[in-house]
């Protein structure tokens, strides 16, 4: 039990002291039982602030410390590491008087609340006991969910460091969105040419186990020891036997829209998404196939000389244990059917940015030729509309970040294809903040003579063989009407369909149901709130390829800091059963989500240290109050209630 508690109140510049009367709080705390010392300081987290705590612990002979400052999620670690040199970290607690007081209340009430929060924290720390961390073994492997450029980069970084990676991709091939792009801004590198070597590295890397056409269906456990179940869908083609000769595709009688080509081109029921696919194999689409019974149609099987096709292939559930997880599930475009004002879906000649991207691609459905889809002719006038669904309170309020740049690229590539064509771009603002981006925009505006019109488009409709685009030029204040052959919408970016499902499996939060929520927007941009889970790529927010790659490498380094160790420190604040008084009713055993509460031969319950996560559900359920939560004891909480009221 702490008898000489020191109270350190942070001004946080004016963030706290501008609202809360910190001197009054200090004065009040000096009078409080058990508080031996109280002071205020401008920035407690700064070096001099930390030194002040050290000095006073020594001078005043303190045996516990309460820091009243920001949220413990910001600086608990900072202050505990200061105290670690003198006593157990559990003798240091924080009172959150910034996020939960000075930032949300008026001065007088904020000061009152700060005093209450401090008193409650003093009561807690007074009864805290010293514990050493529990050491648990670490599974030295990582799971990467999503095989786009983010997942590929993260997997390669971890595998290169010498650790095993399981890379799970839902689609038949890795590559993600980047594989669909033609050129990349601002250098106009061929997207596939820079991506495919990395895809091949993944397939050849001895440390990477690639599970394509697979989905994560269950995740349990905690940092260092996650248990994962992965469903491997049957592709009915043996990956090892398939030689990608294409004989099966030639004879397949079923034609369905090709998802890789944004459904603007056909494919067969047995298909390879694109020639450079990894794994390099055909996949039989079970939904499209006439039936997996050879009696109905066995054309592909009969044509396959390698004997790779097996209609009896079954889905398999693969179980893996990993120490850390990276989520890189990528993005989708905003639902085009919601943009009714832009007439999407009604007209073949109004297309999305990704559809245009496929049209530009040399391996795309038109072989790189730009056409007007309704007639196949070369479009002489093209209108590009930025912020289609982005920066729009009726759709997505945020900026999708990459559309300004790729639209400029689209217009430039169009002009290189159709020399006598005219290109118009409607924009709200031009956001070109990356390296070489502003110069690229300038080049497009000046050298390529693209017509940039600042304003939004109000309406798009068809008139004969033209599409009329009605808009306003807000720089001249004049109405603009363009009769176009083709309209390209730079659609808003949203988290990939299924992001929410993955988030639910992982118990991580999702911002407004769209993007994965990071632990801190500035200082923990790749971490989930739960330890051991990291994010990479557009699943977390819209971003361009260099930012995605950087984030993937950042996540990989975070993962390495976990799986490069044999053992991991685990919080020792777990449940303890008072065995003497336990009646053996078994309620705690039934409520524990981790099977940490187990019945002993004598009938009484016991908490298994390594399994307990410290939630406290058992303690709240024990009918005789015989389970104690370390440092969250009933008496502590009851005392806190008392001083708050």
């Amino acid at each position: 039990m702490a008898r000489r508690i020191g109270v350190f109140i942070c001004h946080c510049g004016i963030n706290i002291a501008g609202v809360i009367d910190v001197e009054k709080v200090a004065e009040e705390m000096r009078k409080y039982p058990g508080v031996a010392f109280a002071t205020t300081y401008q920035y407690m987290c700064s070096d001099p602030g930390q030194n002040l705590i050290r000095e006073k612990i020594e001078e005043e002979n303190l045996d516990a410390v309460v820091v009243a400052a920001c949220s413990p999620s910001m600086h608990e670690e900072t202050f505990r590491s200061v105290c670690k040199d003198y006593f157990s970290i559990y003798r240091c607690e924080m009172a959150n008087i910034r996020e939960q007081s000075s930032w949300v209340h008026d001065p007088e009430e904020a000061t009152e609340k700060a005093i209450k929060l401090l008193k409650a924290t003093v009561e807690k720390v007074r009864e805290n006991e010293d514990f050493n961390p529990i050491m648990v073994p670490v599974e030295r492997k990582c799971l990467v969910i999503g095989g786009g450029i983010a997942g590929i980069q993260a997997a390669l970084d971890i595998a290169d460091a010498g650790y095993k990676v399981i890379l799970v991709e839902k689609e038949p091939s890795i590559g993600g969105r980047m594989a669909q792009l033609s050129e990349t801004f601002p250098t106009l590198d061929c997207s596939q040419c820079i991506l495919t070597p990395k895809m091949v590295m993944v397939s050849r890397h001895p440390n990477i186990k690639l599970l394509s056409y697979s989905e994560v269906i269950e995740i349990s456990g905690f940092v260092g020891n996650f248990n994962v179940k992965i469903l491997k869908n049957p592709r009915y083609v043996d990956e090892d036997k398939c030689t990608v000769c294409g004989d099966c595709e030639k004879v397949c009688p079923v034609i369905v829209p090709n998802e890789f080509e944004m459904k603007r081109a056909p494919r067969k029921a047995i298909f390879i998404p694109f020639p450079q696919a990894v794994p390099s194999t055909y996949t039989l689409d079970r939904e499209a196939c006439l039936g997996l019974a050879p009696l109905t149609c066995a054309e592909c099987r009969d044509a396959c000389e390698a004997d790779a096709i097996n209609y009896d292939m079954q889905a398999k559930v693969i179980e893996e244990k990993v120490g850390a997880i990276i989520v890189a599930t990528g993005y989708d475009l905003y639902d085009k059917n919601k943009l009714v004002e832009y007439g999407y879906g009604d007209d073949d000649d109004i297309i999305t940015s990704l559809e245009f991207e496929r049209m530009l691609s040399a391996s795309g459905p038109t072989g790189g030729k730009i056409i007007k889809p309704s007639t196949g002719e070369e479009p002489k006038k093209v209108v590009f509309i930025q912020c289609a669904g982005s920066r729009d309170v009726q759709h997505m309020p945020y900026c999708s970040s990459i559309c300004c740049m790729y639209t400029a690229k689209h217009a430039l590539l169009y002009k290189h294809n159709v020399h006598d064509g005219e290109a118009y771009i409607f924009y709200i603002d031009i956001r070109a903040t990356g390296k070489g981006y502003e110069e690229f925009i300038a080049r497009v505006m000046e050298e390529e003579r693209i017509n940039y019109i600042r304003g939004k488009v109000a309406k798009i409709f068809r008139e004969g063989d033209k599409i009329v685009v009605y808009g306003i030029d807000t720089l001249t204040g004049k109405r603009v009407e363009i009769k176009a052959d083709l309209v390209v919408l730079a659609m808003a970016i949203v988290g990939k369909k299924g992001t929410k499902d993955i988030a639910k499996l992982l118990k991580v939060a999702v911002d407004d149901g769209i993007f994965l929520k990071e632990a801190h927007p500035k200082l923990k941009p790749v971490e989930a709130l739960s330890r051991g889970i990291y994010f990479a790529g557009c699943a977390q927010s819209p971003k361009d390829i260099p930012a995605v790659v950087a984030q993937a490498s950042a996540s990989a380094s975070k993962v390495l800091s976990i799986i490069s160790k044999d053992k991991l420190e685990k919080d020792p604040l777990i449940a303890v059963v008072d065995e003497e008084h336990c009646s053996g009713c078994g309620v705690c055993i039934s409520v524990c989500p981790y099977e940490a509460m187990q019945r002993q031969p004598n009938g009484k319950a016991k908490c298994i240290e390594a399994l307990c996560e410290g939630c406290g559900t058992c303690a709240a359920s024990c009918p005789s109050g015989n389970i104690e939560m370390r440092n969250y004891k009933d008496e502590q909480i009851e005392k806190m209630i008392e001083v708050i009221i």
Binding site: E99, S101, V104, K504, V591, C615, I641, I645
Partner: protein, 135 residues
């Protein structure tokens, strides 16, 4: 003088407490009547804590947990939900209006929801007046 209720809030570490932090980061004002106690999980909140708070003179008790299906500890919030229903019945039998106890799901991103819910709850308690158990 107008009635200023005293309210204890039990906030789970992973969702509601982080949601309250988010309200702070977004500088959303809400009444200071509610003073939070951080617990690891809403499942930790013993029925006794709630009764204890009322006995000590609280006019209301607020519990914040993760959304159903999102509990950091798998199912603690479901336990909390059941327990709250039970305690509500108990309270009304003991002469305390069950509206004085409220449980809400607030995720780490829902700063706005946290501020709104607290404002509503404080208004509600103000309408109900001081707790009959208040000394």
């Amino acid at each position: 003088m107008s009635f200023e209720p005293k309210i204890v809030a039990f906030l789970c570490n992973w969702c509601a407490y982080a949601g309250a932090d988010m309200a702070g980061t977004s500088r959303l004002k809400y009444p200071a009547n509610v003073v939070p106690i951080r617990v690891m999980c809403s499942g930790r909140i013993d029925a006794e804590f709630i009764i204890d708070a009322f006995e000590k003179g609280a006019d209301g008790v607020f519990i914040g947990g993760c959304h159903p299906g999102d509990c950091h500890y798998v199912s603690g919030n479901y336990r909390a939900r059941r327990r709250v229903e039970m305690v509500k019945k108990l309270l009304s039998q003991m002469g305390v209006n069950e509206k004085r106890l409220r449980i809400e799901w607030v995720s780490a991103t829902e700063g706005k929801k946290f501020a709104t819910v607290i404002e509503e709850f404080v208004d509600e308690i103000k309408k109900l007046g001081p707790s009959p158990w208040r000394k």
